[in-house]
């Protein structure tokens, strides 16, 4: 009994930092509508800067001063990012802002290693709080008790700030209607920057306060961002109180999950999140979004199938790619096959995002399930590659049927978060169910049949699958099913009024996307000869998102181009420099600033401006009328 109490106290101490970081994310989202992926990076920077300062400054004033100074310094960095980067893209589709902050995250990951080295760092204990107190016959660190008190204190301070100061009232007003706040004479630029600085300050403080408890590592950003997403979603985006309650729930689940069900401890949190989202789609304390913006914006030029000339061009391009095995070496062909596999993966995500209007943050789940499906066929049934490739993706399909049923009840950011949760559940199962999946060691020896064992053969196989897959997806876009999906995306109410079943259409789209991702995953298993849980990790999902956004979210098949560019660049950078993440992050940021419509969207704009200026103007006029009527 005493042991459980102490465990609960330890959970409360962990909740404090989680709450700080999550409330910062929540506040930023509330006002700016930006899901700040870089929030974890700022948390990590807070810890590193605090480490640097605390090891140089002595005494209690030095320590606590260093913690505060570190948070202020990092908050200034956050404000700088807002002013230099985000101010330029507030009007871009909201996922683009996520992409930009993701680019910053990548850069920070490398910079941190450059500045502080790859080793884990151990900072000083907090002066005066280094000891432990005997509680119920067990020792509880004094610092934990301090954190337990700090959480509610910060909650109270934030409440006062938002309810008792004019600045706070302005922030709450801007959370609801930014334009109206401006129309009442408030310079919202600085309001946004202030909010961003406050949110980043809280993240950095959360990181800095971790120093006496744990080591500072260069991977702490990703691990915290996932937990924080979960906290914010359970609590309700934009709600500080919600973040507080959810931080406690999550931290306690972690603390007790380890004790009670160590096998599925990782899953517990995500399971709770999934249940909360299904029962209360806007989180425990969140409020329904008035009108969730669809992932894809208004398309200026209506989509159309390829013309005959374009079909010929595509056929020529495919034929040209098919001749590559006669010129390229084995390494290049293996890379090529990998790119082709990701083309299909990105195209499947693109389908659900642009045609379905639903941005999935956990698309890697179905990619991974397909890979495991194929591996199971080989390992447990001794099936040949051909059979495994056919049956394996079914696991992706089944996963999409199951998860999709829950996910399509939500939309917008909440949909994205739930898909992320399910992907993490799938990842946790693969990671922890060692008997079946091999856990972290993965499943090895998934080799292709003889005819595809050589890089040439496998390249052709991947090309055939990718071309057929992307072609089928394109056909779906221009089928009645595709039209129905787009109707539901563009105007849900009107679509339902003419008899379209929104949930079923989107569920079907989810399953289609999941199945094609599964096919890509199954191929990937044979390319690598093995399957690991990381196939369905967050980085894989984010890679997919970057490919789609890079290609252009308002295009029919931009993801194909985005996947080729991104994957090729990533692989090439990895071979050229140790700082590939830094360069890749910078490239992403530049692309977001220079091509807010993605590369393909940009090319299409140019093409229309040069070749059909009159038609382009007429199309834009139509769009303007639509917008004016909104």
């Amino acid at each position: 009994m005493e042991f459980l109490l102490v465990q609960a106290l330890s959970g409360l101490a962990s909740a404090a930092s989680l709450f700080l970081v999550a409330s910062g994310l929540s506040i930023i989202f509330g006002v700016t509508r930006i899901v700040n992926f870089a929030h974890g990076a700022f948390y990590m920077l807070g810890a590193y800067v605090a480490y640097m300062l605390t090891t140089r400054l002595a005494g209690p004033i030095g320590f606590w001063g260093a913690i505060l100074a570190a948070s202020v310094i990092v908050a200034a960095m956050g404000a700088l990012m807002e002013m230099v980067l985000l101010r330029r893209i507030y009007h871009a589709p909201e996922l683009f802002q996520l992409l930009a902050t993701f680019g910053v995250t990548l850069m920070v990951q490398d910079l941190v290693v450059v500045i502080w080295g790859p080793e884990d760092l151990l900072g000083p204990r907090a002066p005066g709080l280094a000891g432990a107190v005997s509680l119920f016959g067990r020792m509880v660190p004094t610092y934990d008790l301090f954190l337990m008190v700090l959480g509610p204190v910060v909650l109270g301070a934030l409440w006062l700030l938002f309810h008792q100061t004019r600045w706070g009232v302005l922030v709450r007003a801007a959370t609801q209607d930014r334009e109206m706040v401006a129309a009442l004479g408030v310079n919202q630029k600085w309001l946004f920057t202030g909010v961003f600085a406050l949110g980043v300050f809280l993240a950095a403080l959360g990181g800095a306060l971790q120093i006496p408890r744990t080591t500072v590592t260069h991977t702490m950003d990703l691990s915290v961002i996932v937990e924080v997403f979960v906290v914010v979603v359970i609590g309700g985006l934009g709600s500080v109180l919600g973040a507080f309650v959810a931080a406690i729930i999550v931290a306690e689940l972690n603390a007790f999950g380890i004790l009670i069900l160590p096998q599925i401890s990782l899953i517990m949190v995500f399971l709770v999140m999934a249940v909360v989202l299904v029962v209360r789609p806007w989180g425990l304390f969140g409020k329904a979004e008035s009108a969730p913006r669809p992932a894809a914006g208004l398309t200026i030029r209506p989509w159309r199938p390829f013309s005959t000339a374009e079909r010929v061009a595509v056929a020529v391009a495919v034929a040209a790619v098919a001749t590559l095995p006669f010129f390229l070496g084995n390494y290049a062909l293996t890379v090529g096959a990998e790119i082709l596999i990701f083309v299909l993966f990105a195209a499947s995500l693109h389908f659900i995002m642009t045609v379905g209007g639903l941005a999935s943050f956990g698309h890697a789940a179905y990619f991974g399930l397909g890979a495991y499906g194929a591996a199971f066929m080989v390992k447990f049934l001794g099936a040949p590659m051909e059979a495994a490739l056919l049956v394996g993706p079914v696991l992706g399909l089944v996963g999409a049927v199951l998860f999709g049923w829950f996910c399509v009840r939500l939309s917008g950011v909440y949909f994205a978060m739930l898909t992320l949760a399910f992907a993490q559940i799938a990842w946790s199962i693969a990671f922890q169910w060692v008997d079946v999946t091999g856990g972290d060691n993965g499943l090895l020896g998934i080799w292709p049949s003889t005819w595809a064992a050589r890089p040439q053969g496998f390249f052709w196989l991947a090309l055939a699958v990718a071309v057929i897959g992307v072609g089928l997806l394109r056909m779906l876009v221009f089928s009645p099913f595709g039209y129905g999906l787009r109707a539901v995306r563009d105007s849900t109410l009107r679509a339902e009024a003419i008899g379209l079943d929104r949930a079923r259409l989107q569920w079907a789209a989810f399953v289609v996307a999941g199945t094609f991702a599964g096919i890509a995953g199954a191929l990937y298993a044979f390319l690598k000869g093995s399957v690991f849980p990381d196939f369905m990790g967050i980085p894989t999902s984010v890679d997919g998102l970057v490919m789609v956004l890079l290609g252009g979210i308002e295009t029919v098949s931009g993801a194909v181009v985005g996947a080729v560019l991104y994957k090729a660049l990533a692989i090439w950078l990895m071979s050229q420099t140790d700082l590939s993440k830094l360069v890749l992050g910078a490239v992403i940021v530049v692309v977001v600033l220079a091509f807010p419509k993605g590369v393909v969207g940009f090319i299409e704009d140019m093409r229309h401006r040069w070749f059909a200026p009159k038609k382009a103007a007429a199309e834009a006029a139509t769009l303007a009328k639509v917008e004016a009527a909104r």
Binding site: A173, M180, A182, A183, G185, A617, A621, A624
Partner: protein, 234 residues
């Protein structure tokens, strides 16, 4: 001249909405901008305060060209704007809504405090702590006007203040607007309701398909029923 708008052209994308709109408002004057649904009344107001990104033309307020300024700068010079759809902050209480609109006192202009607004709109005084989302349409209309008055404007653009309100509330609204006028406030009011406009306005403009079609006193408009029939009658 308090406000001088000339050659205002506004676009949503390349769709042309306003064509060379011009209007003038003298100090202490109440001017009505009349027109049917979709004639361009709201776009005119939104263009004046800089809420329409693509607009050309000049807006001279108190002798200063404000057409290139961002919205908050225009508003801070004392040009208040009350939107048609009210846009109350639902989660904020009456008092907090007022707090958002608050600006420093302006020399030579009536200064408003929440207490004075509770005199002008007694209903609001009884619900100071109530969230804006839990108020009736009429109360919200009062709140949105009061919120703009908290900025101590010298001129107010009132976008269809009588829309969707019960006749009794419309009367209250007319009284409040006349009180504001007595305080020396210049007011531009957009209306479809000619009867309501007649109660309070000195002059009127009629806008139709983005163009000003008529300008004159209320008496002129009274004397030309054919104009009313052409541009206002349903």
């Amino acid at each position: 001249m308090k406000l001088q708008v000339s050659n205002l052209n506004s676009h949503y994308g390349p769709a042309h909405i306003l064509y060379d709109v011009g209007l003038e408002v003298g100090a202490g004057e109440v001017v009505a901008l009349l027109g049917r649904n979709g004639a361009g009344k709201s776009t005119t107001f939104r263009s004046i305060v800089g809420l329409v990104p693509q607009r050309a033309g000049t807006v001279v307020f108190d002798g200063e060209d404000v057409s290139a300024l961002p919205t908050y700068e225009i508003v801070r010079r004392g040009l208040g704007y009350v939107p048609e759809d009210r846009r109350i902050f639902n989660q904020l209480t009456v008092e907090e809504n007022f707090m958002v609109g608050r600006q420093a006192p302006r020399p030579g202009v009536a200064t408003w405090s929440p207490e004075q607004l509770y005199v002008l709109f007694p209903n609001l005084g009884e619900m100071r702590k109530r969230p804006g989302g839990q108020m009736s349409g009429g109360e919200q209309q009062m709140l949105t006007i009061g919120r703009t008055l908290m900025g101590n404007p010298s001129l107010v653009l009132l976008d269809e203040p009588s829309e969707g309100l019960a006749p009794k509330i419309v009367e209250q609204m007319a009284d409040a607007i006349l009180t504001m006028k007595k305080q020396g406030l210049s007011i531009v009011i957009s209306e479809q309701n000619l009867h309501f406009a007649k109660l309070i306005s000195d002059r009127a403009y009629i806008i139709e398909k983005g163009r000003i079609r008529f300008s004159g006193t209320m008496a002129d408009l009274e004397a030309n029923p054919e104009i009313r029939d052409a541009y206002l009658a349903v």
